[in-house]
Structures are given as C-alpha cells and as structure tokens.
C-alpha cells in the first residue's frame, strides 16, 4: 500500500454506522472522511479526492444512485455501495449507475475491507505490455502499464475496474472466461458471488469500447459459459 494511507470517503447518513466504520477503517490502515448528506457528497468528493468511495444507497438529499452517477461523470474512482437491499432491481440500478461493487448490510468488516483492498490493488506492472483485441479493421489497443485504451487513434476512458476486466479478457484472447472466474480475477471474490456484477460491467465496458454495443466485436458472449475477447 505504501506509506500513504488510502483515503476513503464514507457517504452514510447513519451516524453510529459511520463512526463504527471510521473505527474499523482506521484500524485497518485507512484514512476515512465522512459526509452524511447526499447533496454534499460530490463537494466532499472533490475536496478529499478519495482513493475509494463507500456509498450508502439510501441517503437524505440526493439519492445514492444519483451521487454515484455524479461521481462517475467526473472520475473513475472505485465506488462500493453499501446497501440494505439485495433486491435485483436496486443492485442492478446501483451497478448500472457506475458502482464497481457492493456489500449488503449487515456485512462483516473483513468482507468490506477485502472488497476495498481488491479495488485499491495497485498494478505494479512496470514491464511494458501492449495488447490488441477486436476486429482487424478497428482493433482496440491496450497499453497496460499506462492504463490506456486506444481505438482509431482515440483514447477511451475506462474506470479502473473496466480496465481490469478488459485486460483480464485480452491477456488470454482465445480463452472463454466464466463469470465466476472473472469475479475472482477482477473483483477478487474467492467464492462464487453475484454474477450480475459481471453482466452489468460487461455491458458498461461494451458501451465504451464497442462500435455497436448491440453487436459486440471486442467482448464476445459465449452462450451458457461466459465471455471472451474478440479475435485480434
């Protein structure tokens, strides 16, 4: 992690939970900042420039979904939702609005910290590595250490998570990845978790890297199995 403690912005209106989160996060070597009102969340985000955001979905002021969209509009900073609802609609809505991952209340502190660390994992790939996938007439070039994705000479802005997902697929272009494998490699889940995470993020990734997201050429679906990178 380095000497500098990772900064965490906790957006939660429950003061007891926020305080407890503060204790747990400080114990685990994070530097937490707090905001309890959704409408002030974006301002606090700009001020603290956190490395990761913990976002409650039910907030006074601006809803968690809207805060998530606002942050995502200007930054790729990892966002982890704290949600009391495990209903499909809410989870998918949160993920679609840009959250990278979610934990369902009541979570164990270890679980939360593991999720945060997975998102904060630094890629120490100093070795120059470039990958090319997609159709020959419009290939997608990935410069791994520089965290850059180019197509037709234009740079595509991906969040770190989307970048990780694309790199995971592109490193083994012929291999089909099941959702479970992707969950382990990209999200860091040991046990099978919610495969909706993969589905939603593949959709988001496609909307950025594909020419036509309805007819994907870069990230292909293998029916009944999972996903694979399009041939270079």
């Amino acid at each position: 992690m380095g000497a500098v403690k990772p900064r965490v912005l906790v957006v939660d209106d429950d003061s007891a939970l926020a305080e407890m989160l503060g204790i747990v996060l400080r114990t685990d070597g994070f530097d937490p900042a707090f905001v309890s009102d959704g409408s002030r969340a974006l301002h606090a985000f700009r001020e603290t420039k956190p490395d990761v955001v913990l976002l409650d979905l039910m907030l006074p002021g601006l809803s968690g979904i809207d805060v998530c969209r606002a942050i995502r509009a200007e930054s790729g900073t990892p966002i982890i939702m704290l949600t009391a609802k495990s209903d499909t609609v809410d989870v998918v809505l949160g993920l679609e609005s840009g959250a990278d991952d979610y934990v369902v209340k009541p979570f164990k502190p270890k679980e939360l910290v593991a999720r945060m660390r997975a998102r904060l994992r630094q890629h120490e790939d100093v070795v120059s590595e470039t990958l090319t996938i997609g159709p020959p007439d419009a290939p997608v070039n990935i410069d791994v250490p520089a965290h850059q994705v180019m197509r037709d000479g234009a740079q595509i802005a991906l969040t770190p998570l989307e970048f990780d997902l694309l790199v995971a697929l592109a490193r083994k272009p012929r291999q089909v990845f099941t959702r479970e494998v992707l969950l382990e490699q990209v999200w860091g889940y040991r046990h099978a978790a919610d495969t909706r995470l993969v589905n939603v993020h593949v959709q988001r990734l496609r909307s950025k890297v594909e020419r036509d997201p309805e007819r994907p050429e870069v990230v292909l679906t293998v029916r009944g199995v999972g996903y694979k990178a399009g041939p270079p």
């Binding site: 939970l17 204790i23 704290l82 495990s86 009944g224």
Partner: protein
Amino acid sequence: MTVVRPRPESDTDRDAPGASLADSGTPGLRERGAAALHATGQRLTGVGGWLISRWRRSLQLRVAATTLLVCGIVVLIVGIFIVDQVSNGILRAKRDAAVRQATVGLAYARSVFAPTDVQDVSSMVEARQKLLTTQTAGGRGAGLFSIVVKSPESPGSNDMTVIPTSLRSVVQRDNLAVQYGSVNIGPEAVPVHGLIVGAPVQASNGLVELYYLFPLTAEAQTIALLQRTVLLGGLGLVLLVVAIALLVTRQVVRPVRVAAQTAGRLAAGDLSQRISVRGSDDIARLGRSFNDMAGSLQRQIRRLEDLSRLQRRFTSDVSHELRTPLTTIRMASELLHGARDDFGPELARSAELLRAELDRFEALLTDLLEISRYDAGVASLESETADLRGLVTSTVEASAMLAERHGSEIVVQAPNGPVSVEMDSRRVERILRNLVGNALDHGEGRPVVVTIGYDDDAVAVTVRDYGVGLRPGEAGLVFNRFWRGDPSRSRMTGGTGLGLAISLEDARLHDGWLQAWGERGYGAQFRLTLPRRSGHTLLSSPLALRPDDRDEQ
C-alpha cells in the same frame, strides 16, 4: 412401516408424478379423440352436434321449441276442425238449395215432358231446352248449370254426361235422389266436382229421368280459400306464439345470462363487476341482491388484501430497517472478538457468544426477508442455462466445513458429463445448501449421499441421510415455517427454521418439485426435481423419492 402420507402441496408419495401424468394426459387424449371425430364426421355431426349443444345450453331455444310443438299441434287440430265444419255447412246448404230448385221446377217439368214421346229424340231435346231455359232464367237458386235427360227406354241418350248407375237405379224406381259426382261443364267438357239431383218425370210413353247438374266449383274455391286462410292464420298464430315465448324467455333469460357472466368474471378475480339494474321487478331484485353480495365480497377481500399487504410491507420494512444498526453491531462485535485475547476469560467468551449469535440473528433476518419477498409475490426468477453438476459440486465443497464438524462424509453420485438446466443458479444453490445442511444436521455423523439424475425433460437431485428419519406424517410438515422435528434435539447448525420453507418456494418458482421421504430409524431423503427448460411442466422425476435401499418394503 407405512409410506408417509404427504400434505397436498408437497406430494411426498412417489406415485404423485404418475398420478399427475395420468391427470394431465387424459384431457389431452379426450381432446385428440374429439378432434378426430370432428374431422371425419364433421358434415354429419356438425349441424346435429351444434344443435344438441345449443339445445343443452340454451333455455330460450328449449322454451321456443316446446312452444312451437305444442302450439303447432293445437292449431292443426283446431284448423282441421274448422275447415271440416265450414265445408260441411257449405255443402249442406248447397245440397238443400239444389234439391229445392229441382223440386220447384218439377211441376213445370212434368207439364213439359207429359206430351213428349220418349222415343222421339228431337222432341226430347226441345223439351229439355225449354226446361233448362225456364229453370236457369231465375239466375238465382243453387246455380243450376245443366239438365240431363235420360230415359231407360232410350239408351242412346243425347248427352255425354255419365250419370252414376247407382243414382240412376234409384231414380228409375221413381224416387228423387241426390248424389255428388263429377259433372262435365263448358264446351271442353272438363269434369268438375258437382252435385247431381235426379228426378223421375212421366212422359207420354215412359219414364224420363231428369238430372239437374250443379257444379261445385264456387264451393270448392270457397273451401280452398278457407283452407288457405286457416293454414296461413294458423302458421301466423304459431309463429306469433313462438315469438312471444322467445321474447318472454329472453326477458327472463337475459338477466340470468348477464348474472352468470358477471358471476364468472367475479370468480375470475375482477371484483368490480356489477349487474346494471333497472326497475323493481323480480329480476331487478335478483340483480340488486347479486350486486350487494358482490359488494360485500369485494369489501371483505379488499380488507384482507390490505391487511396482508400491510403485514408484508411491515415485515419487509422491519428487515430493512434492522440492517443498518445490525451492521454497526456486527462491526463492533467483530472488533471485540478480534481483541478478545486482551480480555479476561468471561469477557472473551461473551465476545465469542455475541459474534456467534449475531450470525444466527443475521441468517434469520435474511430468511425472513426472503420469505416476505415470496409472500409479497415479488420474487422473480433469473434463469440461465447452467451445469447442475457443477452447482452440486460447489455446494458440497462449500459444506465441507460443516460436514467435518458433524463428522459426516458427503458422497456425490453424479453422471460423467455436465447436466445443463435452465435455472436460477442462486436459488438452486440455496436449495441444495439447505438440503445438504439439513441432511448433515440430522445425519448423526453417518454419510450423506447426494445423487444427480436426469432425463430429457427433467433433472433431479436427491439428498439422503441415514439419521433418525421422519415419523409418519412428518414428511409434509418439514416444509412448514419454523417446524422442528424433535424440539428436544440440539441443533449444531442452528438453522433458522425457514430454510426448507424457502427452498420449497424456490423450487415452486422454477415450476419444480421439492419432496421429502423419511422413515423412523432409516433416515430421510429429499428430492428436488426441476424441468430442464423453464416453463416446461413436470410429469415425472428421473429419481425415485423413496430410496432404492428401502424399496423392498
């Protein structure tokens, strides 16, 4: 030991699939048979069948047909009687008039024929002509058309008209006689129905038979007209009565039909259905009572619905609201638990208990929320084609720790290849986890056998334990919420008591079956059967619910 009887919704009996097969197969067969019959005998039976079915279904048709029949018979009898009476009257009057006319002219006829020689044809013709002119000159009377003169002494008579011999023989015996017969009239001598009055007249040298011919043309026309009139009138009357019957039954039947339709829609769940009521007659009273009943039903059902909705909302809200403080408590307990080495033994144990019980509390909360979601009817299936074998393997692997704690071994009997099923993996995994956990919990350290079976339409997983088993009647109860087999037994997993109830709902959501078998002392077996394609109706399961080793009983 007897086979454990199922409760209806969780058919435990292994014959249940067969029974449901027979049930759903019979209407199909019947339908197909009916279709074949319909195709071959369509022309023959089509109209008849339609009529029969209409006859059975329509009260109006039955009333109209009965009215038509009865009224038709009555009108026919009355019509025949009227026509008969009137015709007889007409003919009698004609006959009387004819006889009178003939009698009146008889004196004159005697004077005319008295000097005539029977043998002299010309004088006979002359006398006849004279008589005819005088008799028909009146213009009135019985419509005498012609007179025929015959004499027994002159067989070669002047007239072509054939007089019936029976009449002639009477007249020749010097009697006045009347008879119906055909008479020739007009230049074409067309024979028409007529009346012949015969009278004997004495000529100078013998008997002369005078026959007065009265054609009945006018009377026949009158009678025909009468017949037509009566027929048409009768027909009209019958139709009128049938129409009235139709109208009257319609007035009664229509509200009844409307009531039946409305009741049908009410029964189908549209509680806002009402009958429009006009007036204050019996039918209107029926309608009003019906509407009152529907209104009362609607109010009752609304109240019940509101109540249960409120209750479900409440359960769901409570579960959600509990989660945030529970998260705080959980984190605090984890922190305490992590630092328990620094505490004294009592505080350290308290921290451990706190954490363990929080786990249980959380599991219960999760299950409550899940059940409330089912009760609210908002649970939805996210089906995807996946490998059941893989799911079973991962579930068994995840249960390894629990198995170790119970000292049980989990044996998996699976086919070699993958078994693809369209299913919601999350829910099926939960079912399997619950079944395996349950088997370990009651398996008393003996092995737990998980078997996968499949055929073209369905897949099945059985989880068998060799523990205490179930008492008769318990196989149906195990899926009840918070049901405990033996309250005195301690439970190591500390299940919430909702696991099997949720599993049953999960299976039902897949249109699948979750059934239990158990015998005291021989363990228990749970069987999950799922259709391979979603929406497919299960008819049988690839695996038997009753395990093979208990089959010989």
